[in-house]
C-alpha cells in the first residue's frame, strides 16, 4: 500500500492518523517525489554493530554488545520494540535464567527498560518505524553499508548506515495454506490474530476455526477464548498434537475439541468467511472422501508453521542451505552465530524456527561474540559466551528440543563442509 505518497508500506503495522491518504498499490512503486513533507535526507552514522529487528533476540543482542562496550544501532519496522513478545500474554517456560513464569509482554517491557537504561545511553540507539532494505558495497574493507528508510510520522528519511558488524534478528514469516477461499477476509495467520487481539484490542471475529495444533495454534486458541471469542475446534493434519500437552489440556478443559488427522479443505462465503469445510486425512495425509464436515465460523486462523526471513542475508551473499528442520532456507552459521561472511551474524527465528527463550540466548551469543570480534573485553565476552552456550544446550536437551537440535546439528555439518 501507499501511504501519504510513501510506497511499500505495511499498513497492518502503520498507525492510522487523521488525514493520512492510503492508496492501493498493486504494482511496483514509483520513486517518491521530493516534497517538503517527504524529504529524503541522507545521513551517515558510524557505529559498531547494526542490529536488524528488535524482537527478543535483537534486544538481547543489543544489551550484550553494549555491555561489553560496543555501540549499537537497533532498527525495527514496528512502532515499538519487543517483536512477537508484545502479544505473548502467556507465561514463558524455562528456568529462572530465561525468566520462566513471566509473561512475554512483561519480558518485552523488562528488556525495553534495560535498553533505555542510563548506562546504555551512549551505546544503544533505537530506530523504530524504519526498514533496513538493502546492503551496499563499501569502499572501506572493514565496513558494511546498509540502506534504511525511516517512516516516522509519515515523513520518509533515507539513512545510510555504515557499521563494522551486523546482526540479523529479523524473525520469520507465517506460512500460508493453499485452499479455495484462502483470500477471503477472515482468513488470518495466527500472528495477525494475536496482534489484533493482544496489541490493538480488536476482536478478529466471533467464532474461529483454528488450523494447526502446534504450540502457536494451541496458545492462540486459548488466548481467543480469553478474549471472549468462541473457538469451534482445532484441526491438525498430523496424527498427534504437536504442541505441549499442557497447552492442549488448557483448551480441552474449556470444551474445545482437537481433531488430529484433520485439515481444512476450503473456506466459503461471498465477501467474507461464512464457514469452512474440514476433512479427515488417511495415513498418507490424503483427504478421505465423504468425511467432509462443515464448520460455521467467521474466522479461520492458520497456525501452520513459520519460515525464517533471510532476504537481506541472501542479498549479502552468505552461504545458505535448505534445512527443513529449521523451517526453510537459512544462513549457515557457526556456534558463535556468525555466518560465512565475516562479522555478519544471525540469531533467533531467522537462524532456524524455535522458541523465544532460545532466541534470547542466541541473541546474547551473537551480541557478545560480535563485540568480542571488534576487540571489546574479549575475555569477559568469551566467558559469557561459554555460559550462554551451556544454557542453550540445556534447554534443547529434552524431546521437544529434538527438532531444533537436529536443525542446528545439520547446520554445523553443512558449515564444516563449506568449500
Amino acid at each position: 500500500m501507499e501511504v501519504n505518497g510513501i510506497p511499500n508500506v505495511r499498513t497492518c503495522i502503520a498507525p492510522l492518523l487523521e488525514g493520512v491518504a492510503v492508496r492501493m498499490q498493486d504494482r511496483l512503486a514509483s520513486w517518491p517525489q521530493n516534497n517538503t513533507d517527504n524529504a529524503f535526507v541522507s545521513t551517515v552514522q558510524d557505529i559498531d554493530i547494526l542490529i536488524v529487528g528488535a524482537g527478543p533476540a535483537g534486544m538481547e543482542a543489543a544489551l550484550q554488545a553494549a555491555t561489553f562496550g560496543a555501540s549499537v544501532l537497533l532498527v525495527d519496522e514496528n512502532q515499538r520494540v519487543g517483536g512477537q513478545l508484545i502479544k505473548q500474554t502467556h507465561k514463558f517456560f524455562g528456568s529462572k535464567e530465561e525468566k520462566a513464569g513471566t509473561r512475554g509482554i512483561s519480558i518485552a517491557k523488562d528488556l525495553e527498560d534495560q535498553l533505555c537504561d542510563d548506562r546504555f545511553k551512549d551505546k544503544i540507539d533505537v530506530l523504530l518505524d524504519a526498514t533496513v532494505f538493502g546492503f551496499y558495497e563499501d569502499d572501506t574493507e572493514d565496513r558494511y553499508t546498509f540502506g534504511v528508510i525511516s517512516r516516522k510520522e509519515y515523513k520518509s528519511r533515507l539513512i545510510k548506515v555504515v557499521c563494522r558488524s551486523v546482526i540479523f534478528t529479523v524473525g520469520a514469516m507465517e506460512n500460508m495454506l493453499l485452499f479455495p477461499g484462502n483470500d477471503l477476509p477472515g482468513v488470518y495467520g495466527a500472528g495477525a490474530v494475536q496482534t489484533l487481539m493482544n496489541v490493538y484490542g480488536v476482536k478478529p471475529g466471533e467464532r474461529v476455526l483454528m488450523v494447526g495444533a502446534g504450540n502457536v495454534g494451541l496458545i492462540v486458541g486459548y488466548q481467543l477464548l480469553q478474549a471472549g471469542i468462541k473457538v469451534d475446534r482445532v484441526v491438525e493434519a498430523a496424527p498427534t498434537i504437536g504442541g505441549y500437552h499442557v497447552h492442549a489440556a488448557k483448551l480441552r478443559r474449556c470444551s474445545v475439541p482437537i481433531y488430529t488427522r484433520h485439515s481444512i479443505k476450503e473456506v466459503f462465503g461471498a465477501d467474507c468467511v461464512k464457514g469452512a469445510v474440514v476433512v479427515e486425512l488417511d495415513d498418507h495425509w490424503n483427504p478421505i472422501q465423504g468425511s467432509e464436515e462443515i464448520v460455521t465460523c467467521d474466522t479461520v486462523c492458520l497456525a501452520v508453521g513459520l519460515t525464517p526471513s533471510t532476504r537481506l542475508l541472501e542479498q549479502i551473499g552468505v552461504d545458505m542451505a535448505l534445512v527443513p528442520e529449521a523451517g526453510g532456507y537459512i544462513a549457515l552459521h557457526d556456534e558463535r552465530m556468525q555466518t560465512s561472511v565475516p562479522r555478519v551474524y544471525v540469531a533467533g527465528d531467522s537462524s532456524g524456527i524455535e522458541e523465544a527463550s532460545t532466541a534470547m540466548i542466541e541473541g546474547k551469543i551473537a551480541g557478545a561474540m560480535a563485540a568480542k570480534q571488534l576487540g571489546y573485553q574479549q575475555e569477559k565476552a568469551q566467558t559469557a559466551y561459554e555460559g550462554f552456550l551451556k544454557e542453550l544446550k540445556r534447554l534443547r536437551a529434552g524431546p521437544f528440543g529434538a527438532k531444533p537440535r537436529d536443525a542446528k546439528q545439520r547446520i554445523q555439518r553443512l558449515w564444516r563442509k563449506r568449500p
Binding site: F92, G101, R103, A249, L251, S255
Partner: protein, 153 residues
C-alpha cells in the same frame, strides 16, 4: 502411543496418584507428563517438595512433604498444577484460572472435567491473585476429586 497425544486429555493412569491419607492432608498434583524444559514449580515450593533431575525431567512431588500451599499453582506456565484436598464428603480443588469475570467467594459455578464436560456445580471457597493468574478453590463432591479441573463462571 499414549492417547493424550491425540486427544489432549490425560487419563488417571498417566498420573502418579496420592494415597487417600495424602489427599486428606491436601497435595499438589502436577499434570505435567512431557519432558519440556521448564522448572519454576521447583523454585516456587517453600518446602522443597517438588524436585526435578534436570530442567527437562518430569517434576516429582513428594506428597508427604507437600503442604498444599498452592504457590506452584499460580507459577506453572502450563497451568498444569492443581491442589486437591479431601474434606469429609467434599473435595477442594485449587486451580489456576485466567478468565474474566473472576468468580466471587461463595458463588456457585459449573465445574468441568479435563474434556470440558460439565460435572455439575461447585461452590467457590477462595479466590486469590498470583500475578495475573487467579487461584480458585472450588468445593465439589468427593467422587470428582480427580476429575474436576476447570470452572465456568
Amino acid at each position: 502411543m499414549s492417547d493424550f497425544e491425540n486427544t489432549g486429555i490425560l487419563s488417571i493412569s498417566d498420573l502418579v496418584l496420592p494415597t487417600n491419607e495424602q489427599l486428606e492432608k491436601g497435595v499438589a498434583i502436577t499434570e505435567c507428563i512431557q519432558r519440556i524444559p521448564c522448572n519454576p514449580c521447583v523454585d516456587s515450593c517453600p518446602v522443597h517438595a517438588i524436585s526435578m533431575k534436570d530442567i527437562n525431567a518430569l517434576p516429582v512431588v513428594d506428597y508427604d512433604a507437600c503442604i498444599a500451599c498452592g504457590r506452584c499453582v499460580g507459577v506453572c506456565p502450563g497451568l498444569a498444577i492443581f491442589v486437591v484436598k479431601v474434606q469429609g464428603d467434599q473435595a477442594l480443588i485449587t486451580l489456576p484460572y485466567e478468565f474474566l469475570p473472576r468468580p466471587q467467594k461463595g458463588e456457585s459455578v459449573s465445574v468441568l472435567d479435563r474434556a470440558g464436560k460439565t460435572m455439575g456445580k461447585g461452590k467457590i471457597i477462595r479466590v486469590k491473585q498470583q500475578g495475573r493468574t487467579s487461584i480458585i478453590t472450588v468445593s465439589v463432591e468427593k467422587k470428582y476429586a480427580m476429575d474436576v479441573r476447570n470452572i465456568r463462571v
